[in-house]
């Protein structure tokens, strides 16, 4: 009764893309727990779509699109969490053992978070897609439903804005 083929493809997609999606969600939410939930919700939503026999041409782009929408819903719901609270909360981000390295990474992380905070949601999104997820403009365009040129322009603009903002810091 269950379409085995559909199910297998879906689970393959999970195995292939859940790590990347998790990372993306983590950089957007700064919370391990939230990122995990977002990954789960993303796949559940996608399954819902798949199970209604709707075609998905590019499963990766589709998954990203679902995740991005969920993140936006999220950020609309709860306005601005303070950076301090986020930093305090990022203790649940713990690479194994070695406490010295943890401190180092946490410091680096705090810096990166400050930088990201300077950006608007949309710009942050595109920067993370480009530099954390390592997606090319073409791939990003597919996710955002636009074309590669527009994406390139937007990346450059985001970088410009960031430059200006950090100059005044």
């Amino acid at each position: 009764m269950i379409d085995e083929d559909k199910k297998n493809k879906f689970l393959e997609a999970y195995d292939a893309y859940s790590d990347a999606l998790y990372r993306h969600c983590f950089f957007r939410t700064f919370s391990r727990e939230r990122a995990e939930e977002l990954v789960q919700e993303t796949f559940l939503k996608t399954w819902e779509y798949v199970s209604q026999d709707k075609e998905i041409a590019n499963i990766r782009a589709f998954l990203y699109r679902v995740a991005l929408n969920l993140i936006i819903d999220d950020s609309r719901k709860k306005k601005e969490v303070s950076l301090d609270a986020l930093l305090a909360g990022s203790k649940n981000f713990q690479p194994p053992n070695n406490s010295h390295r943890i401190m180092e990474i946490q410091a680096l992380f705090g810096e990166a978070m400050k930088g990201l905070k300077l950006l608007e949601e949309e710009d942050r999104n595109i920067i993370i897609l480009r530099y954390v997820d390592d997606l090319g403009p073409g791939e990003i365009a597919e996710i955002l439903g636009t074309n590669a040129n527009v994406v390139s322009v937007r990346i450059n603009r985001a970088l410009e804005k960031l430059k200006n903002k950090t100059m005044y810091e």
């Binding site: 009764m1 998790y22 990372r23 950089f27 995990e36 199970s51 990474i105 950090t166």
Partner: protein, 404 residues
Amino acid sequence: MNNLIEQLQALKGKIVFDEYRKKNIRNILIAKIENEESVKTVTLARHNNQGTNFLNFIFKPLKPMPIFAMLMIMTLAGGGISMAAEGALPGDLLYPVKVNINEEVRSTLTFSEEAVANWEARRAERRLEEAQKLAAKGEVKEEIRIKLEERFEAHADRVEARIEEIQARGNINAAADIASNFETSLKAHERILAEIESENESRSFSSAKGKVKPLTAKIKTEIDDVIKARVKLEHRIASEDGKPETKTAAEGKLKAASNVIASVRSFLEAKEEKLGAEAVIEAETKLSLAENMTIEGKAKIEIELYGEAFNLANKAIRTAQEARFLVEAENRLNLKFKLRIRGDSASEVKKEDASKDESILKAETRSETRDSERSNEEAEIRSKTEIEGGENEIKGDVKLKIDF
């Protein structure tokens, strides 16, 4: 500006999706995929297409609004249904409501990690209770047993994953508690199922022979896993001796252990005359073992080995609980014996024992609704009377059914 980009690129390799969580979510997805399918077929048969919309909506990832809506559905339209569903067994029409709506709603309304872990443990226990009831009735169908096993395993795995997470978040004592409790309860259920199994086997006409064996095997593997997790946690606890919070935790645990021992002791005293001498001795031995452990634990606190004291206290609790289960099991056997002799007053004995014995099965008393508790006891008693019926000639008297 390039700073940020460099930082991001340096960090991205450090952010890794936890393997355990990844597997866990994968299992959740599989469960949802299969669940949805089975529920769809049930409702399709009844409401045609209308039902699917309704259920799709219920299976959407739960956000505040749907939770609220689900509660509304439960209270307005289905309050009675979901209450009634609580006592449902696999194969019943309302069973999907029990596991997919009632329990899922509870899950989404449970927030703290520990509460989630405990609830998942409870769900695993509920599957075992269902298996017990079915086995006692001699109605374990192959496909139902397989489904039950799958659900049980999924819940048990989630408990283990949660224990892992709670531990990762540094709350080692809480993780150890959950593991320890889950272990005791699994052991008890395994024992009860084995008991039912051997009763079934003694019935010459039984069609239920050997039916729950694969399940008891599964429980055993889960017990092994939980024990492994628990031992690991205990090592960690033992290594945190110096900390003051370990001291408080250990002292609290020891107090809890003394309470458990005291309550099991009074339970034993109440039941003593009904039990065989061997059982009393065995239970007493376990209790004094447990007591020794608490004394030893207190001594460990004196010499500042708080972690070890904590572990000893947990062990004492487990041992005392084992004594309790022993008494309960023995008590049930004796109940059977009495029925055999006092055929006429059988119903009286049954009633008395069923109500007095506040925990025929420890887990059963923890059932959420009175409805399900009643049907538990009823099934339990009915099964016993049926066993009696098979074994001796006062069948007519013993077959009395109690209506609560």
